[in-house]
């Protein structure tokens, strides 16, 4: 199975191979029913060190995180703002005073201060940074990073979805519904639809009936679509009955570690992301909104910094303690940064959209940690030296995760579309 998924076949071919294999019983899904599906998950108890793919947690700061007030401060300059810098645990690297926990994780991470991406409207920029393509171009709907990771690193026999999004995100575009994210609206309530609405006994009876109907239909008409339908349902039932599904249930987490994250929705989202990565989900996105600080920038960024500081630091700590940090890339980013200048339109000063120069942070994933990539000028307004484009960034992420970003995926009509479009150059300094 694994060889097939890692070969250079097209997505559709892989899917057909999978169907053929499962029809032949290669997954242990015989006519005898559903329980065998469980036995097929040989990989579920594999220790972390032997895991075969990397994972990625994308912490999406929706609205545009002000780089000058978080990761790239310019204290003492005219539009430097109200915040002071503090030293991180890497000598010479300083970030906002309102991110003190993260300052102590600098040795695990990298700051990229030369992002420059050219899309200044929220939706277009979100789309561009998630997919690497501009919305509507070429008449295609492009897959988001999570769907790409799902298609490239996800395992067909893995009982959980390979792309989970805590909050809204973008979908799989031409890669098809199999790589759509499973969306969790409220991490403390778990996944919608993950819990049967009837008793376990009744649910099992229903599954039994369904399986009889599926088998009878297939005896009458051996058609690939019916086979695929049956396989999808079998995988879904396997998911519901799997141990991994408990990863979604935060009430199973010890009280102390829940408290270590804090009780905000974002904090619980980070905890859920950790639990999902622990069981092998390759891509989890956690969204925190509110960063569109046209007004009242400083008070809001102070509060938002407080919201993210502890949970992200705790996430990094937990991943490190579990031996997962080197195989898990954590990214903190937005669709763009905010203006180096301060506007005074509103009652409280604000900053506006700014894609020309901004910052993001990454931890783990085996990158060469403890460094800053790139720099902006004294005002945080332009990039000094070579900028990092959206394509460069996505290529870098792919390379960290072990995905060939030059690979072409075929659209349903056979148009080959590169995972990251031509012109991308991964950031060399990030690799050790």
């Amino acid at each position: 199975m694994f060889e097939i998924l890692n070969s250079d076949k097209t997505h559709a071919q892989t899917r057909r191979d999978f169907m053929r294999l499962s029809a032949a019983g290669a997954l242990g899904v015989g006519l005898s029913g559903w329980l065998n599906v469980l036995a097929a998950h040989a990989q579920q108890n594999a220790p972390a060190g032997q895991r075969r793919h990397k994972s990625c947690i994308l912490l999406w700061m929706d609205g545009g995180m002000s780089h000058k007030d978080t990761l790239d401060l310019k204290p003492g300059t005219r539009n430097g703002g109200e915040f002071r810098e503090i030293e991180t645990n890497v000598p010479g690297i300083r970030i906002s005073e309102h991110l003190p926990q993260l300052a102590r994780k600098m040795n695990e991470g990298v700051l990229i201060r030369n992002m420059s991406t050219g899309e200044g409207a929220h939706q277009r920029a979100r789309y561009y940074l998630h997919t690497g393509y501009r919305e509507g171009v070429g008449g295609l709907s492009y897959p988001a990073l999570g769907s790409i990771v799902s298609a490239e690193l996800g395992q067909e026999e893995f009982p959980l979805p390979n792309y989970v999004s805590i909050g809204r995100s973008f979908g799989s575009g031409f890669l098809g519904p199999r790589h759509q994210p499973l969306i969790v609206n409220d991490p403390t309530r778990g996944v919608e639809d993950m819990r049967p609405l009837v008793s376990e006994g009744r649910f099992n009876s229903r599954i039994g009936l369904l399986e009889e109907m599926e088998a009878a239909f297939l005896r009458q008409q051996t058609v690939a679509s019916a086979q695929a339908h049956r396989t999808t349902y079998q995988r879904t039932v396997a998911l519901l009955r799997s141990r991994e599904v408990q990863a979604f249930d935060l009430s199973r987490e010890p009280q102390a570690s829940r408290e270590a994250y804090g009780d905000s929705r974002f904090a619980q989202g980070c905890l859920l992301a950790r639990r999902l990565v622990e069981v092998g989900v390759p891509f989890v996105e956690v969204t925190l909104g509110g960063w569109d600080t046209h007004e009242n920038n400083f008070n809001r960024v102070r509060t938002l910094s407080g919201t993210i500081d502890t949970p992200i630091a705790q996430l990094i700590t937990d991943l490190r303690e579990r031996g997962l940090l080197d195989s898990t890339l954590v990214i903190l980013m937005s669709e763009f940064g905010r203006t180096p200048t301060i506007n005074t339109r509103g009652a409280q000063p604000g900053r506006d959209h700014y894609p020309r120069a901004w910052s993001l942070a990454m931890w783990g994933g085996g990158i060469r940690a403890g460094q800053v990539i790139g720099a902006t000028d004294a005002e945080g307004a332009t990039v000094r030296g070579r900028p990092t484009s959206a394509l460069d960034f996505l290529a870098t992420v792919c390379q960290i995760l072990g995905i060939d970003y030059t690979k072409e995926n075929n659209t349903p009509i056979g148009r080959p579309i590169r995972i990251v479009d031509r012109g991308a150059q991964p950031i060399r300094e990030i690799f050790g």
Binding site: V137, G138, G139
Partner: protein, 565 residues
């Protein structure tokens, strides 16, 4: 020049698209030595110094042969069968027999009405002995509201793809206008002409057709959508840098795009809900007021010229879109009738005679070229009457074949020896679930949104469709859904607890309930074996209502429900 178009040029320089771009129409930046030595230098070495000229580019396509008088629908159906049977005989592939009535009934309903048949229709069909019952059924469906609704549903999705750039453009007026047009059975050439040439405000009553231009506003978008939907050509590849699979030149692209250069839009199609104002589409000979269609920088402004056709003489004051529409919708236009016939065929059979349906070019020939031309000719002769075309196809034995295979034809998927099994579209699934569960309400209003766009009012059906959406060009015979979609049907609020059957009568006996579940959801009666198994299931449960719910749950989650046989 935008980044995208710089890249486009760069990839042109690398030669990745040699067959696609023979002539560079990008102004200002010729492929210079400097560019070749740059970032892409390494790839540029691979460039064939003397690319072969494209085969058919620029050639004038011969006009379609249009018979003086169209065959009757029955005659055209027979002609379809002759062509199909000839090829099967030559390939020595046996044809599967005719479908039985229930298989045919459910298929034709889903194909033409977009929903499973109502239970009364199923019962009437099962009880009918009228030898003409299939023909009558086809007529009934084509004359129903559901046909017009389904056609409007199909076409509004194709004509209007919701993206951020058109978020302030309302979709409903387009849908309403299409529905009325299909209900009146307006000629397809009339519908397309109106779509292409409409002017006015998007808030005018009966202004649905202007939505097409407003929703696709942009020289490239209008060109791409128009050529793809009405000509069956993916001309966008001559603008894009990914796949060199046609012989169209970039100049062909901008010659066609020129027909949209005089159209203007007042208002902002990407406005936020709070400051959105009605949009107005205008086109006049003089430079109009309002916003010109966004034109990618670097594209050369060329004179209007028809694809594979002549450069028309155009009066200075003329509407260019009218000139285009007039050429396109002429009976013997080499693209229009073929593209339409092929798309309709694809809707009915799960694949086009040219497949994908909108990718008609020399290197992707039809499986049955003479049949395609004959169908196109008669469709044009019948004044582009869509119902005529649907009726003729539906009456053919080819369409009425069972989807069950025979020994010797299992592997055939291009010669129509048996009907292809299609997977319900999200729209068909939603409407069919409603038909079974008996409520027009959303299946589950709390469906998670996939960046659907803030400020856009989204109803339950749209949410459901977005959640189950497959790519527009995906193979409709392939089941594409994943775990989240299965979870939604298994455990979603409406289906997961105690699904209720439309028209349920508490005084029914268990066998009557089971029969109704089957008639309603699967459009057939249960077999004796199924009946006895399910009666046993009900009798073993002290809670009969829940047992019925279990059966209904299993049926709507089954392959048989979601497949169109």
């Amino acid at each position: 020049m935008t980044l995208h178009h710089r890249k486009l040029l760069a990839s042109v320089l690398t030669g990745a698209l040699l067959t696609c771009f023979v002539t560079l129409a990008v102004a200002g930046e010729a492929p210079t030595a400097k560019a070749k030595k740059g970032k892409f230098g390494k790839v540029a070495k691979a460039v064939d110094p003397a690319p072969a000229p494209a085969k058919s580019t620029g050639e004038v396509k011969p006009p379609l042969q249009v018979p003086a008088q169209a065959l009757s629908e029955r005659e055209l159906a027979r002609l379809i069968d002759q062509h199909i049977d000839q090829r099967l005989a030559a390939a020595k592939i046996p044809a599967s027999p005719r479908s039985d009535d229930v298989e045919f009934l459910r298929r034709i309903y889903l194909d033409l009405a977009g929903v499973i048949p109502p239970v009364e229709v199923v019962k009437a069909m099962l009880d009918s002995t009228d030898p003409n019952r299939r023909h009558k059924l086809i007529d009934d469906i084509l004359n129903s509201d559901r046909y017009a609704f389904h056609m409007a549903d199909l076409w509004s999705t194709r004509l209007f793809q919701r993206i951020n750039d058109n978020r302030a453009v309302p979709k409903q007026p387009l849908q309403d206008w299409l529905k009325e047009s299909f209900a009146r059975n307006d000629s397809w050439h009339q519908i397309v002409t109106t779509l292409l040439t409409a002017t006015g405000g998007t808030d005018d009553p009966n202004a649905g057709a202007t939505i097409y231009t407003a929703a696709n506003f942009g020289l490239d978008k209008l060109t791409n959508t128009t050529t793809r939907l009405f000509m069956g050509v993916r001309l966008e590849c001559a603008q894009c840098h990914n796949h060199p699979f046609t012989n169209y030149k970039q100049t062909d692209y901008w010659h066609m795009a020129a027909f949209f250069s005089k159209v203007r839009l007042q208002g902002n199609p990407a406005a936020n809900a709070k400051n959105a104002t009605p949009l107005t589409v205008t086109e006049s000979g003089k430079v109009g007021r309002g916003k010109a269609p966004p034109m990618p920088e670097g594209a050369k402004a060329l004179a209007p010229k028809f694809l594979n056709g002549p450069a028309p003489t155009i009066a200075p004051e003329a509407s260019l879109r009218e000139v285009l529409a007039k050429w396109l919708t002429t009976k013997d236009n080499p693209f229009f009738a073929r593209a339409t016939v092929n798309r309709v065929w694809g809707q009915m059979f799960g694949r086009g005679l040219v497949n994908p349906v909108d990718d008609m070019h020399d290197d992707n020939p039809p499986t049955h070229p003479e049949l395609l031309d004959a169908l196109a000719g008669h469709f044009a002769a019948a004044n582009f009457d869509l119902k005529y075309l649907y009726r003729a196809i539906a009456l053919s034995e080819t369409y009425q074949r069972t989807s069950k295979t025979l020994a010797g034809n299992e592997k055939d998927d291009t010669l129509y020896s048996h009907m292809a099994v299609k997977v319900m579209t999200p729209e068909q699934l939603f409407d069919s679930l409603n038909a079974v569960l008996g409520s027009p309400r959303a299946i589950d209003r709390k469906l998670p949104g996939l960046a659907a766009g803030k400020g856009v009012g989204i109803d339950g059906r749209t949410l459901f469709v977005n959640f189950f959406a497959v790519d527009e060009n995906a193979d409709v015979t392939e089941y594409q859904q994943g775990i989240p979609q299965a979870l939604k049907l298994m455990n979603g609020a409406r289906t997961g607890k105690l699904p209720t059957l439309a028209g349920f009568n508490p005084s029914w006996t268990p066998s009557q309930v089971i029969e109704h579940i089957y008639l309603t959801a699967l459009s057939r009666r249960p077999t004796a074996q199924e009946m006895s198994r399910l009666l046993q299931y009900v009798s073993r449960d002290s809670d009969r209502t829940s047992a019925y719910g279990d059966i209904l749950w299993a049926v709507i989650n089954s392959s048989e429900f979601t497949l169109v046989r």
